[in-house]
């Protein structure tokens, strides 16, 4: 999912402390925030936008292209279903610790309604120079600037580091897609690669994976169909098995979801897999990209 500058964004849970801080950052960046939802504070203005009691109600007053959720874990399911029912086409769920059963319910309902979901447990999306949806440091010019590299990352912090290395190499990003650190997410690595492959502004892709699950192996199955080159880094090589490493999704047992399994799958499919994220810049520079704005 890529959110463009013209798209109208709703903030669910807008009156919370973190939401207030990050809504202001998104607005400064130029994201078109048009309304907020906060069931107990409907009727007020907050961050210069009207606050409604539900997405359904907000959608009656203002057209919505996307919604970003800053709501507590157990409120995600009703909040997301509210947005799906109201017909919002794109949902970005930032919340960590959402029960997987709720996530699966939301994704099933969203699919039926034709709503795209990114997350949960994602740092969000950035389209440099256009919009930022979530809590990535889009405003920091040492990390984000418009360019031609698309980035897919399960991790927000490591995604930030990848973007920093892209800018250090004199390049920039076409889009950053944070897919989230949970074991079940609405947009998996492969689907994010499909978006970047279709995106005209993207000429190369940086894929940031990590141990656990099978998203990287699954994505490797798509690489041979891609025209654009892929540079990858997979976190967790030095992590022991059977221990959870922060992200609920970052745990592997035996061979399944291990570093070796992911690296091998990606390399066999033609990706350049790096030993350290510091190599991202030079790997990209060695690839053929048309110049222009970069």
């Amino acid at each position: 999912m890529i959110v463009r500058s013209h798209e109208r964004v709703l903030v669910q849970g807008v009156t919370g402390r973190q939401a207030t801080y990050w809504t202001a950052r998104m607005q400064e960046y130029g994201t078109r925030i048009v309304a907020g939802v906060s069931p107990r504070k409907a009727g007020i203005n907050h961050c210069d936008v009207p606050v409604f009691g539900s997405v359904r109600e907000a959608a009656e007053h203002v057209p919505l292209d996307a919604s970003v959720l800053f709501v507590p874990p157990l409120s995600v399911k009703p909040a997301a279903l509210d947005a799906v029912t109201a017909g919002v086409p794109k949902l970005v769920i930032l919340t960590e610790h959402v029960p997987v059963r709720d996530t699966m319910h939301v994704i099933a309902a969203a699919r039926e309604a034709g709503t795209e979901v990114v997350g949960p447990n994602t740092a969000g999306l950035v389209t440099p120079g256009e919009s930022s949806v979530g809590f990535m440091p889009a405003f920091d010019p040492s990390i984000f600037r418009p360019g031609r590299v698309g980035v897919v990352s399960r991790s927000g912090s490591l995604g930030t580091l990848a973007c920093l290395n892209i800018v250090r190499a004199g390049l920039g990003q076409s889009a950053f897609i944070g897919i989230g650190g949970d074991p079940v997410v609405g947009t998996r690595t492969r689907a994010a690669l499909e978006v970047l492959e279709r995106d005209d502004r993207t000429e190369a892709v940086v894929l940031i994976g990590e141990i656990g699950g099978d998203m990287e192996e699954d994505a490797a199955g798509y690489l041979p169909e891609m025209r654009k080159p892929v540079v990858a880094f997979v976190a967790g090589r030095a992590s022991p098995p059977d221990r959870r490493m922060g992200h609920a999704g970052a745990i592997f047992q035996g061979d399944r979801g291990s570093y070796e399994s992911k690296r091998q799958a990606l390399e066999r499919a033609g990706a350049v897999v790096l030993d350290t994220p510091s190599g991202i810049g030079s790997a990209l520079l060695s690839m053929e990209m048309s110049d222009g704005t970069r």
Binding site: I107, A108, P137, I143, S155, R237, G246
Partner: protein, 378 residues
């Protein structure tokens, strides 16, 4: 969260699935008493470990005296990282056939996936290699659940005849239990068909989604304690994600991905990471307790602090860290890199308060920390 076998079986029984008669014992005497009541018994170490039978954790005892001896062996012993503090003593069941049945979350669907195989009593991973055709799966809409007709069709595919309806009934009940308990995995292996034609769950593995613990308090109370080190337990109580490793270069970073990567690059550049410790997410204001935890590790020779702020503000993290550093006055050399949200203010604080210059890149900070760790402490 792993639910111990005996507790998982109580849940199965509540859900209307037959399990062998049995009881939990924590002493050889208790085990012998149970055996006197139940006849020949299986004595099963209550540890959340796969392949428990192969490691000698499941034993047959034909008499109370034998049960006493077996329990004496098992109790207090270690299987993997787990100490055996209890055994499940169960009547021995005469088995005519063994199946494998499971309900699990399938992320690629996403869907709940029901798995049934006529090859029970062995690891499903082994069956996947030796006889993949025997594994039947059915993906179901997480909103509706497994319908009885679908369960009957699945059971019929496995070539069961008389037992098929009873097995289908067990699958429907397992699916409901999986949903209601917010499980990640509910595995019954073997699901036995007895000489008398009954369908009985002989073993059960139940893993609950940790994110659902808040709304599953009764299950969370059952959860098998994780085998944590003292320091890991202290960190857990402070709400910090911390894993102790055996290296000498300490790690303090924000976010799971960046923290794992810091460990990876330490290893890649020839060092050994001492730990995983992240203070991102909701924990980014806990710099002080995080520092105390990381410094308490024996064998620590140097420390890498790697912050790349997105949601976690580096100025808040470094602010807390520099105050704690001044108070604790550690003698371990620290090597910083700071980028992202709040970085300019964070770098300034580091210079002004600790007189330390952050390294321009993560790799440079890590290389410096590795060479500091290699110095003779004198």
């Amino acid at each position: 969260m792993n639910i111990p076998e005996h507790a998982a079986k109580a849940l199965l029984e509540n859900a209307g699935i037959r399990v062998p008669a049995g009881t939990v014992a924590d002493s050889p005497q208790g085990t012998a008493r149970a055996a006197a009541r139940l006849g020949p018994v299986m004595v099963k170490a209550q540890v959340p470990v796969g392949g428990r039978g192969k490691s000698g954790g499941v034993r047959l005892a034909r008499s109370p005296a034998e049960a006493h001896a077996v329990a004496g062996d098992l109790l207090g012993s270690r299987i993997d990282r787990h100490r055996v503090t209890g055994v499940l003593v169960e009547e021995r069941v005469r088995v005519a056939g063994e199946l494998y049945a499971a309900v699990l979350n399938h992320p690629a669907g996403p869907a709940r996936r029901v798995v049934l195989s006529e090859r029970g009593g062995v690891d499903i991973e082994d069956t996947a290699r030796t006889d993949p055709g025997s594994i039947r799966t059915l993906d179901i809409d997480p909103r509706t659940g497994l319908r009885p007709e679908a369960a009957r069709q699945l059971a019929a595919q496995t070539g069961l005849d008389r037992a098929a309806p009873a097995v289908a009934d067990v699958l429907v009940r397992m699916d409901r239990l999986h949903r209601d308990s917010d499980a990640q995995l509910l595995e019954v292996n073997p699901l036995a068909i007895t000489d008398a034609g009954d369908v009985v769950a002989l073993d059960c593995k139940l893993v609950i989604d940790g994110a659902a613990a808040v709304r599953q308090p009764s299950l969370a109370a059952f959860a098998a304690p994780e085998p944590l080190t003292e320091l890991e337990r202290a960190a857990r109580e402070l709400g910090l994600q911390f894993v102790e490793l055996d290296g000498e270069v300490g790690v303090l970073a924000n976010g799971a991905g960046l923290t794992m990567t810091t460990m990876d690059v330490i290893r890649h550049l020839g060092g050994r990471p001492a730990n995983f410790l992240e203070i991102g997410g909701d924990a980014y204001t806990k710099a002080r307790p995080a520092l105390e935890i990381v410094l308490a590790q024996r064998g620590l020779r140097s420390l890498v602090v790697n912050f790349c702020g997105a949601f976690a503000r580096t100025d808040v993290m470094v602010g807390g860290l520099t105050v704690a550093w001044a108070e604790l006055q550690p003698d371990v050399p620290a090597f910083f890199t700071i980028d992202g949200t709040g970085a300019a203010a964070a770098r300034r604080m580091l210079r002004e308060r600790l007189g330390l210059e952050p390294y321009p890149t993560m790799d440079e900070a890590i290389a410096a920390a590795i060479s500091a760790a290699a110095q003779d402490p004198g």
